[in-house]
């Protein structure tokens, strides 16, 4: 069934990029190992073969240089799609990102556009330790001037990539390694979804209700959505109906969808694989408590990564990561159901 074909997030990203490159000669791709290798996480496979070395460029390991160069190219009429292999590497090139890419439109009073996409991998869970496993969603979302998206499934991955490339603003496109569909990283089956052949956009700034429910709202993004869905399955068997909100985009943030869901359920759990403090979880809780205190039947909860670097050893890392059990236990607690030992 041709029109029911399923893709991984990695292939969906590559397909959207290829379609935009076909339609728009100003789109080009650069980054480390994105040409011949097709990206360490597979999200640029096939692009070199179709578009050649001029438009699909392996770079030196010089992130300050090539991300800064993308800013310059974007301001000069191109639409670069640039890869920062692991989000953890942002430290060596953050100035190009948050002081140039994100601020030049503002500094120019809106007269200069920076229409680029910076894609980067997030997430751990496979023992790659503290410099290769972070999410850092909050670090990027905190600084103004860049949109931030992160898909939980292949359908959204394609639509968000198309929207990101067409957006006249800089977009940080964060893809979770555990959802890429690369066998060697384990495969989250729920991330492999039907993806239409034709081009389409998923609106940046619009959350999705991944599952409807009555009793508790679980808000998350990327991998956390799958943890939330699994928790919701387990909770359903115990008679608790959980609604799962997939943010899809952190900037802009769809506060309305979150508020409406909590208004309905009266309970809120935020799941965030990024560090606990000063991050997405606090922002979501503030979003709700700033306006709907009366709707809340219980204090909100967060299941986030504790404020420690990510350890290598499996037992320690797994202890720290969000998972469905932690979410389900919090939900039972919030809903007043007995927590099984």
């Amino acid at each position: 069934m041709e029109n029911e074909r399923k893709l991984t997030i990695a292939r969906a990203m590559a397909e959207a990029t290829a379609q935009e490159m076909r339609d728009d000669p100003s789109v080009f791709v650069m980054g480390e190992d994105i040409a011949e290798l097709g990206g360490v996480f597979g999200n640029t496979r096939g692009l070199l073969e179709e578009f050649g070395k001029e438009r699909v460029r392996d770079t030196p390991i010089s992130e300050t240089g090539f991300i800064g160069a993308a800013v310059g190219a974007a301001q000069d009429g191109m639409k670069p799609v640039v890869e920062l292999m692991f989000v953890d590497f942002f430290g060596v090139c953050f100035d190009a990102i948050y002081n140039l890419m994100a601020k030049n439109t503002y500094f120019s009073g809106g007269n200069v556009n920076v229409p680029m996409v910076l894609m980067t991998s997030t997430g751990g869970g496979y023992s790659d330790a503290g410099q290769h496993s972070q999410c850092l969603y909050g670090s990027f979302a905190h600084l103004p001037g860049m949109k931030v998206v992160s898909p939980s499934n292949a359908y959204d991955a394609k639509g968000l990539m198309t929207a990101a490339i067409r957006d006249p603003n800089p977009v940080i496109y964060m893809y979770h390694k555990g959802l890429q569909g690369m066998g060697w990283l384990g495969t989250e089956a729920g991330a492999i979804t039907h993806v239409p052949e034709e081009s389409y956009e998923v609106e940046i700034g619009k959350a999705a209700i991944a599952r409807e429910g009555r009793d508790v709202t679980i808000v998350s993004i990327a991998q956390g959505v799958h943890h939330g869905l699994k928790a919701a399955d387990a909770l359903a068997q115990q008679g608790i109906s959980a609604e799962v909100v997939d943010l899809r985009s952190l900037v802009p943030l769809d506060r309305e969808t979150v508020r409406a869901s909590v208004a309905k359920t009266g309970r809120l759990i935020v799941v965030d694989e990024d560090y606990h403090s000063y991050g997405v979880s606090g922002e979501i809780i503030a979003t709700v408590t700033e306006s709907n205190m009366a709707d809340l039947k219980a204090p909100p909860r967060r299941i986030a990564y504790p404020d420690v670097p990510i350890p290598f050893a499996r037992v320690m890392e797994q202890h720290c990561l969000p998972n469905a059990d932690k979410i389900a236990a919090a939900a039972r607690d919030l809903c007043g159901a007995p927590v099984p030992a």
Partner: protein, 328 residues
């Protein structure tokens, strides 16, 4: 300056130890990862970067170092760690993520820290350069002896940190030596495709310091050039940049199918494997017998076996230990 017989024996033994250690890691790494290769499975999860072929660089340089000298290493650190004298058992346990590991399993293979011998790592490309300069600066200010050596890959010489730290070291005449291991590849990108200059050692001219390129992956030549550079640093005459031609016999990391390598390139590399080459040269030189070299190899293997046994037999950390050691 030619290495004395004892030094040559040490160099050979450390090269063999490193190779045997990595052979063991390689095998164990695949346990639990077949038939489906999932990086998260098995006794050693996560990425694994082997240094097979690059051993001469580590021994040629570290033969001149003592425990008090500082080494900063890369994401491919085992050969450098072994040559610097990092505790083999505790390093093995760290790579297995055990409580007895150097950091109790917090760091893993890309973050080997052994304070006893002043060895540190970073998995972020070129980020060992700043700390090496800092250690050298600290020695200079305190009037303490010792040098700092930063090992990096040739791909890393295109990072800002490389250029900034080198300039700093040069203007302040810091006791530092930078050793670039040129294995011709940065993951799938060749040096030719990423670096505008043939030899990174020529970049030394930009900082007014000596630069040396050493072809042939030859431990004796490396020993000689590194010896001069380290002596110069110890005399307070400032940093040196050395680039060494070496070979990466394995993939970038385990699981890398190396489709980007030109056909046949690797066959040529195995013919140049520096360990049999060194063995043959030591024998041909007449000062070593087969029996002596066999004994060194047996000793190296025994040390590796013991380290692996120790690592396998050690307990996992407690899960909640993850929350400790964030602050001093």
């Amino acid at each position: 300056m030619q290495p004395a017989k004892g030094t040559l024996a040490w160099m050979y033994e450390k090269m063999v130890t490193s190779r045997r250690f990595e052979n063991a890691i390689e095998k164990i790494y695949m346990e639990g990862k077949s038939p489906v290769f999932n990086m998260a499975d098995g006794p050693i999860p996560g990425e694994m970067h082997l240094s097979d072929g690059q051993e001469p660089v580590a021994v040629g340089v570290c033969a001149h170092l003592e425990a008090g000298d500082v080494v900063t290493a890369t994401h491919r650190p085992h050969h450098q760690a072994i040559a610097k004298g990092v505790d083999l058992k505790k390093m093995a346990a760290e790579i297995f993520g055990k409580a007895t590991g150097l950091s109790g399993g917090r760091g893993g293979h890309m973050h080997i820290f052994d304070a006893e011998v002043n060895f540190a790592c970073s998995g972020i490309i070129a980020q060992g350069m700043g700390p090496a300069a800092g250690a050298a600066l600290s020695r200079q200010i305190q009037g303490k002896p010792g040098v700092a050596v930063s090992f990096i890959g040739e791909g890393a010489a295109n990072q800002g940190a490389f250029h900034e730290a080198l300039n700093l070291a040069a203007v302040w005449k810091l006791p530092m030596v930078v050793v670039v291991e040129d294995n011709a590849w940065g993951i799938s990108v060749s040096k030719e495709a990423s670096t505008a200059i043939k030899r990174n050692s020529d970049r030394a001219a930009a900082y007014g310091i000596p630069g040396h390129y050493i072809p042939g992956n030859d431990p004796r030549k490396i020993y000689e050039v590194a010896g001069e550079a380290i002596a110069r640093a110890r005399r307070g005459e400032g940093p040196t940049l050395i680039e060494v031609e070496t070979y990466r016999l394995a993939g970038h990391f385990m699981g890398d199918a190396e489709g980007y390598r030109p056909d046949g390139e690797k066959d040529g590399l195995f013919a140049k494997d520096p360990i049999p080459v060194m063995r043959a040269r030591l024998l041909a030189g007449g000062s070593f017998t087969d029996a002596e070299l066999d004994a060194l190899e047996t000793g190296a293997q025994a040390a590796v076996d013991e380290a692996i046994r120790f690592a396998r037999g050690s307990a996992d950390p407690k899960p909640e230990d993850a929350l400790t050691a964030v602050f001093a």
